[in-house]
Structures are given as structure tokens and as C-alpha cells.
Symmetry: C2
Subunit: 199 residues, 2 copies
């Protein structure tokens, strides 16, 4: 492989993507180019017959996920204060904004702030006000940026990115790709980075 | 907690239980009492509406599991030569034998041999001959032991153990319990052991 690149595929409703988003850059450090890839998991889940998070559909799995996520956040020094009844949140608007930010380069910082709003600040990330507050924090023109994120070109870029995820075998979030090698889950973050460095 | 004990809950059809079974004792070492808990996942999956492995029901997830398992086995120096079309195997007879062996203490070694037969030797673990070969390797009277494993008491002990798994929140295998703290998956093996040692 020519470039040592790791793609970080994430969905704003995904619980384990929260600690992953906070830790992926320090984990990658020098030697690996990290590419943030927002996508929508909903259409992939829908094709599997799920119209809700599997953590809601399968309660025992869900109960253990919340406990496990708490242990991870405790170990990583991350706050976790999501009220479970608000899960999963609708991350469509946030994902369009994340796609919009790719060219200007504010996608990683924006994405971390969205995860914090969702999982540590009990905010509604489908709410325009919450998203505009984040854009303002990034010194962006909140109204103009929100409007730009609704452009057909952005909507279709997010759609294509989500289709690409599915075509490349992604079935959950976070996922990491080192070339064609797919690593699923925050647990595989370091392994994916090590794989890219070795390649 | 009075005793530093970790329960290793496993099901013979479970793919990740194979490397877990091979590595759990070295990982536990001194300071933790390891309790091997064979159980049946089928009834728990059936209640979730699955009459096959989720790795078969959801092909993208299944494809990544086989690749991920191969990476794990490579890293751990374990052979993996299961033909995927024979997955999952029926582990009922093996599980009854594992329950039978608890008192005499041959359950761990028996279980590792069953996993090896299933995942490294392409053997059919629902076949009496394959199981008897394993019992013979353990210097047991294969015919008498097979017969003893069919006793109503053993069948009902396995049934109760599987019901206990469900009652305690277990939804997949392998799982590890340190007291009431449930850790799901081979990825959580070390954390479960560390948790028990800290308690």
C-alpha cells in the first residue's frame, strides 16, 4: 500500500463511536493519515430488518452495552450522561454537516463536539440550535453553514458515502479500514492503526 | 467479594469461545479461581427470534467475524481450519459431557479438545466417535462416560446452567462474570480477570 491511511467510519447515533472519536487521533499519532468518514447506519440496519438500534431490539445486549460503555468511558476519563430513553438520536443533520466540513477540514473537531453533545451533555443533536451552537464554537457562520449543509450536493455526498460503506462490507460503527482490511468496533481501533503502519 | 473468581461461560458452537478457551487459563494465572461454565446459547438466540447463528443471518457481520477470528488466531498462534459451511455445529452432546466432567475436573481439558476438533481439525463434534476419541485421550472410559452424560440429572444440570446464564443477563459467548459484573466477548477476557483481582 502506498499511503499509510486509516479510515474512521462513524455514525453519530453510535455509542462506541463516541469514545472512538475522542481517542482515535492520539492513537493514530504520526505515521498514519486518518480520514474521518461520517456515514448513516440506518439504511444498512434497515436492510437487515432493523428499524431501531439492535441495542434497543435486544434488551440484554443493550443493557450490557451501556454498562460496558460506562466502563470504557470511566477508563478513558470521558463523561457519559446520556439518558437511555433518548437513544438512538437522529444524526442526519449532523452527518450532512460533517460531510460539508471535509473540504475545509473542520469535520474531526465538529464530530467530537457532536458526540460530546449527544453522550456527555444530554443535548438533542437533531435540533438546529444545538448544531448551530457547535458551529459557532468552531468560529463558523452558523446560519450559512446550516444552509449549505442542506444543498443537494451535500445530501448526495452523504448518501454516496453511506453506500460506499455498505459496498465495502461495513455493517456497524465505528469501523476502521486500512486499505480493504475492515476492523469493526472501537476494540479494533489500535489494531487497525497498527495494520496500516505495517502495510 | 470474598472469592476472586471469574466464571467463563462458553458454548461449543461459538467461534470466539475457541481462542478464549485456549487462552483463559494463562490469562487468569494465579490469584483468580476460574470456573468453566458450559451452556447452550440456542435457547437464548431462539427467544431473540434467531434460529441460526447471527453470523449466518447477517452475512456482512459473518464475513467480518471469520476474517477477524483469523487475525486473532494468527496473533495467538492458533490453527483455524473450519469450513464455514459447517457452522454452527451442534454442541449439545459435548456440552452434556462438559457438565458431567465438572465434578471430576476434566471439563477444561475436554472443552479445549472439543474446540480444537471443531475449529482446527474439521471434525463433527456432534458425532459420537469424535467425542469418544476425545474422552479416550483423557484416559476416560469412552462408552461409560458417553452413557453417563445422557443421564436425566446431567441433562437437567445443563438446562439449569443455560437458564442461569439467561437469568444473569448473558446473551452471547464467550461471556465472563466477576460476581455480578458481566463482560461479553473474548475481547473482555483480560478486563474481567483484572476486575475480579481488584474486587
Amino acid at each position: 500500500m502506498a499511503t499509510r491511511e486509516v479510515e474512521f467510519w462513524y455514525e453519530f447515533a453510535s455509542t462506541y463511536s463516541y469514545p472512538a472519536s475522542m481517542r482515535v487521533e492520539p492513537a493514530a499519532q504520526a505515521g498514519v493519515k486518518l480520514v474521518w468518514k461520517p456515514f448513516l447506519l440506518g439504511p444498512i440496519f434497515a436492510e437487515q430488518g432493523w428499524n431501531d438500534s439492535p441495542f434497543n431490539i435486544y434488551p440484554a445486549k443493550g443493557a450490557n452495552m451501556w454498562r460496558d460503555l460506562k466502563r470504557i468511558c470511566d477508563a478513558d476519563g470521558l463523561k457519559l450522561t446520556l439518558p437511555p430513553h433518548s437513544f438512538p438520536q437522529n444524526g442526519l443533520k449532523a452527518a450532512r454537516l460533517a460531510v460539508l466540513g471535509e473540504r475545509a477540514g473542520w469535520t474531526p473537531e465538529f464530530s467530537r463536539l457532536v458526540y460530546r453533545a449527544n453522550f456527555a451533555e444530554q443535548k438533542d443533536i437533531s435540533d438546529d440550535k444545538a448544531l448551530k451552537d457547535i458551529l459557532t464554537t468552531l468560529n463558523l457562520d452558523a446560519d450559512a453553514t446550516m444552509a449549505a449543509s442542506q444543498a443537494p450536493e451535500i445530501k448526495s455526498r452523504l448518501r454516496r458515502q453511506s453506500e460506499e460503506a455498505k459496498a465495502r462490507g461495513i455493517f456497524g460503527a465505528p469501523s476502521f479500514m486500512a486499505g480493504d482490511e475492515l476492523f469493526w468496533g472501537k476494540d479494533r481501533m489500535s489494531e487497525a492503526i497498527a495494520w496500516a503502519k505495517r502495510a
